[in-house]
Amino acid sequence: MNFRLKLPDSAPSLQAAGPALAGLPAARAVLGVALALAIFGVFILASGRDPLDALQGAWRGVIGSPFGLSEVGVTMIPLVLTALATAIPARAGLVNVGGEGQLHTGALAATGIVLYFHVGAPALMLPLMALAGCAGGGLWAAAAALLRRWRGVNEVISTLLANYIAILLVNMLVFGPWKNPDGLGYPYTIPFDAAAILPAIAGTRFHWGALAPVLALIVCYVILTRTVWGFKMRAVGGNPEAARRRGIAVDRYAAAAMIAGGALAGLAGMVEVAGIHHDLRPGISANLGYLGLLASWLAGHNLLVIIPACFLMAVFLVTGDVLQLTAGLPSAAGMALIGLVLFLVLGLRRLERRPL
């Protein structure tokens, strides 16, 4: 995973939609994507295949097919949530690299509800699991927030390291006490029953968990742009020193933003286990936490731009899978493409920020 991105001097403030959108000229993003595709094409050419053929195949398989589109949607559901998990703390000036771990603890907490507080009615069970997911992710982020506030520990380090602990914690449970006794020794929990499953739309994996990112985006957007609380949050992110001198409890707002981000990543974990896997197992995430981080940076932490950014990344991820089948490329091709896009889009944005 590429963490050595050159971070901009300050996280761009989250303005109301207008000015922030203007700050990211669409033309530059399109240019970056086009350049990335061109470079990617050269690599396909170098590997002895026809890039146009591969592109056409990918287009047919991803955008052009109902299944491909549904897979893009399936990927976007957790991705938007983990992107928000980075974007909200970034609004308050914090860098949350812990989406991956918070997603795991969220999934763990949601599974805990299924295992220990089972209720038969989906109308009760699913919201309960969602709350547990938020709590699991939020608590995991709270540790980093508190360490920062009390001991001055840099949140980049603490959230990153907490990822490994969270993943190992999940492994410990599914290899140990939570392992399905009838599971032939596989490290899975018992399969969730119908009440704990987000139903899918007929024939695809696209499930009702899609409501979660939509609601989360709306709530975050309204809070940030339409409440005094969100206004203070934006002030904290835009200039913590000025906020402190205006009597805003900067530490408290920063901690709140970090915990909110963790809760959103935790919700992504709940959505994944309840909508896709229907149990808890190792490897539930496929780097969704890290990919969300990248999507948020790609979007300049702008809530509205997160949607197209996540769409683009989801398309490339699914493209990687399709190319594996149609052009015989390794599935890492999708990741390589994402890397190129990030590099170019962020690089081009950097150019325009050059000082006078």
Partner: protein, 564 residues
């Protein structure tokens, strides 16, 4: 051409009249992108300037008049607008020589001392100089360098020790290190950007003596100032800029203070009352009209008890680390306060003079509750508040007008109206949960209505504003909160003459209406004009207290620099 220039040392052609001028600018135009897309603003608009060898030339103008831009064009930092450039635009010793970069300008023999110096604090003076000089080879020949620095320092009476670390030097000493750097690099034209802004009054005289000595040795000096008195004090020629154009240029003996002020602000703008006294005693900027130094209350309301009430009191306040016995800084952490006591009554303005970095900033930090008070206590209206939060201070009626509005008061990515709203946040405005555009617009409109200066439109992001505009937005926000205790840092910095005058009037109005004010400024004229009492700070202590009428600038200047 550069080789030839380096061969002739300034000492060898020490005559001003003969040959081509050192530098000739004709029709220099430099535009920057304007606020609206597609528009441009000409920071320099057809500027002509001639500079001879051995000439001291002052460039005078208000903030935003294009002085700094012009210097940066000369120094190769900005390229003038290509469409207006001809071989005649920039001639060095009679030949076209427009430098494409600062490095090219340095090869010509041009050196510049910027306002914020470019020294590395952790290195010694000699090491800093070595970094700047080209062609040093791989090994640092320290001893030789030290000798050369000492030689120059001795010749011009600069009093710097090449072995000292730069972070132990005062700002004045750092400025002299910058000068030595340029001299060693064989610069022949020395450009100074607002060199006096970091100096105490008597240090300014010292700098001007250095200028004269440099001139006698054939160097040319070009310096920027916005103070009329300084332009007249030392220069051979003065060029006045206003809005990017030259409004006057002539030998300085042909000017007096009123004519320079008129050229700076435009004849139509110079208020009749602003005509200063004879040149020798002229204040740098016109005093606000109808404001005697100690202003008696003008309305009957404050003649009563409120007038006498003590609004703010510091009792033996110390901040920062406790003193260590072997510390170089006798007494306290640099920048902290050391047993500072004073009080301000309602309707009173207390001036604080001092070279920046002697504890002035800690006054505000302690008052706002940002910096813990180690010893002593702070009282607001007689109530001890020590240990308070920022919110307590703001709700208690405190308003701090910060030194750097962009970093301490504004959120640059937010709009002007959002920043105005921000000013009231700590005082519980706006209350409630929801915030819509109307709340923001109404609040901004209310503040704007009560603020007499022109202000940028509500929708502009603060990031896009000029320094003066940012200052005005910040002042509007602070003055519009109904605070009763003001601590104002350099409130007129970055403002043009008219806005500065209006800002002083605003402070006086707040004071007359019963507010207590502490005014921290580096402009002695401003302090003397506004203050009822004057404190001098040095190394975190109060070094002296005066009534403005009995204070002499020389005496204050000595106290500011630790000479008692």
């Amino acid at each position: 051409m550069s080789a030839e220039n380096l061969e002739t040392s300034p000492n060898q052609d020490n005559h001003t009249g003969n040959g081509p001028p050192l530098l000739e600018l004709r029709g220099i135009t430099k535009s920057f992108p304007g606020p609206a897309p597609g528009t441009t603003i000409a920071a320099n608009d057809g500027i002509d300037l001639t500079l001879r060898r051995g000439e001291i030339h002052a460039v005078l103008g208000e903030n935003g008049s294009g002085k700094s831009t012009l210097m940066k064009v000369i120094y190769g930092y900005h390229a003038p607008d290509a469409s207006k450039v001809s071989p005649d635009s920039y001639r060095w010793l009679g030949r076209p020589a427009l430098p494409g970069s600062p490095a090219a300008a340095r090869r010509l023999g041009i050196g510049m001392v910027f306002q914020d110096f470019s020294l590395i604090p952790a290195l010694s003076v000699a090491e800093n100089v070595a970094l700047f000089l080209p062609g040093q080879g791989r090994m640092l020949r320290r001893r030789q360098l030290v000798r050369r620095i000492e030689q120059f320092a001795g010749e011009y009476d600069l009093e710097i020790d090449p072995r000292q670390r730069v972070d132990d030097l005062s700002l004045g000493e750092r400025q002299r290190v910058e000068l030595v750097k340029l001299l060693l690099a064989e610069a022949r034209l020395l450009i100074f950007d607002e060199p006096t802004s970091v100096l105490a009054p008597h240090e300014v005289d010292g700098l001007f003596r250095v200028f004269s000595a440099l001139k006698d040795n054939g160097y040319s000096v070009l310096f920027i100032t916005h103070k009329v008195r300084e332009a007249l004090a030392v220069s051979d020629n003065v060029t006045v800029l206003r809005r990017g154009r030259v409004t006057a240029t002539a030998p300085s003996r042909r000017f007096d203070a009123p004519s320079l002020v008129a050229a700076m602000v435009g004849a139509e703008n110079a208020p009749p009352s602003a005509a200063p006294e004879p040149a020798s005693a002229a204040p740098a900027v016109p005093k606000p009209p109808q404001t005697p130094p100690a202003h008696p209350p003008t309305t009957p309301e404050q003649t009563g008890g409120a007038q006498k009430e003590t609004a703010l009191e510091f009792r033996e306040v110390s901040t920062g680390r406790a003193p260590r016995p072997l510390s170089r800084f006798r007494g306290t952490t640099p920048g902290g306060l050391n047993a500072v006591s004073f009080s301000v009554r309602r309707g009173e303005i207390l001036g604080v003079a001092g070279v920046a970095g002697n504890g002035q900033r800690a006054l505000g930090e302690a008052l706002l509750g940002l910096e813990p008070v180690r010893r002593g206590s702070i009282l607001l209206f007689g109530q001890p508040v020590t240990g308070h939060t920022v919110s307590d201070a703001l709700k208690g009626g405190v308003s701090v007008i910060p030194e750097n509005p962009l970093s301490d008061a504004m959120v640059p990515d937010m709009r002007v109206d959002e920043n105005l709203l921000l000013a009231g946040l700590g005082r519980g405005r706006p209350a409630g949960f929801w915030l819509n555009r109307n709340t923001i617009a109404n609040r901004a409109e209310a503040i704007r209505a009560g603020f007499p200066l022109t202000m940028a439109g509500p929708a502009a992001p603060v990031r896009s504003l000029s320094g003066g505009n940012i200052q005005r937005v910040m002042l509007a926000g602070e003055l519009g909160q109904g605070a009763s205790i003001f601590l104002a840092y350099y409130p007129t910095r970055g403002l043009d003459v008219l806005s500065a005058g209006a800002t002083r009037r605003l402070l006086l109005e707040q004071s007359n209406a019963g507010a207590a004010a502490v005014l921290v400024s580096e402009d002695l004229d401003e302090l003397l004009a506004l203050s009822d009492r004057l404190l001098v700070m040095y190394r975190g202590r109060i070094a002296g207290e005066f009534a403005p009428s009995e204070a002499s600038p020389q005496e204050i200047g000595l106290l500011m620099t630790g000479h008692t």
